[in-house]
Amino acid sequence: MNAISAFAVGLLFGMGLIISGMTDPSKIIGFLDITGAWDPSLAFVMGGAILVGFVAFRFARRRTMSFLGGAMHIPTARQIDRPLILGGLAFGVGWGLAGYCPGPAVVALGAGQDQAVVFVIAMLAGMALYETADRFFHARRRRRVPRELSDVAGDA
């Protein structure tokens, strides 16, 4: 049941990305080019999504269980730390270079964009690289927060 609803959500999410124009990297670069010919579309996408999301998360916060009966995995981390900022910087540079972020890149891959195939393979390699480095450093020095907990707590 969880998988069926996740499939439907993925489908809807992907349709939203296509309708909004975000699967076209030139729309992303156009938004990030604030000193040139600026395309504010991305701000409207985020505005529309946050409008709905704000109501939904206010409602979700009061629930102890999901409607399908599972636990609520809502992030609890609050600290603004070095990984958050360094990770954000690296992501922002890559985003500005290609015009793809993870969601639109996966949808563009589904649409058969050749460039998205290359980008997604590199992105998965980057994610795997992070996992390997994380495991290596985790083994070297035990963190205060166990990894299983930090995963649920930190992931946005």
């Binding site: 993925g10 579309s41 600290q79 603004i80 890559g94 992931d155």
Partner: protein, 142 residues
């Protein structure tokens, strides 16, 4: 200067509302955050038993273009980056979103919807890095 030729306020707002509805469904039905980097990253870090919904979500993303294609012919995208740049960018996006615990959907949409200061810091950081990168590539290098 606003690029009126490419600005799509209405379809972008409509698409954004659909994205918000999807994020709402995932948190209310599955109790999960619709952060694509986190969902993909979780597949690479199997935590036992929560693989099915992650893969199902990703398959949904992959199938979406075919479904939209039945209703309308999408405009062809414009991609400026060459393959070496795409490779480097992909590595940065993959490692960066995992190290920073989220991407445009996780921090940008879900985190800001939750009014999370942490996600606001992350979103501001990657937006500023994106602005700076495009400025360098478009206006300083070319």
């Amino acid at each position: 200067m606003i690029d009126w030729a490419h600005f799509t306020p209405w379809s972008s707002l409509a698409g954004g509302i659909v994205i918000g509805a999807a994020a709402a469904m995932l948190v209310l039905l599955n109790g999960r955050i619709a952060g694509v980097a986190g969902i993909l990253g979780g597949v690479l870090r199997p935590a036992g038993g929560d693989m099915a919904w992650r893969l199902a979500f990703i398959i949904g993303l992959l199938v979406a273009p075919a479904l939209v294609g039945l209703l309308a012919e999408p405009a062809p995208p414009t991609i400026e980056a060459g393959y070496p740049v795409l490779l480097a960018a992909g590595l940065l996006v993959g490692a960066g979103t995992r190290y920073g615990s989220g991407c445009t959907s996780g921090h940008g949409v879900c985190g800001l919807s939750r009014l999370s200061p942490r996600s606001l810091a992350a979103t501001s950081t990657f937006m500023l890095a994106g602005f700076a990168t495009v400025y360098v590539v478009r206006h300083l290098l070319s």
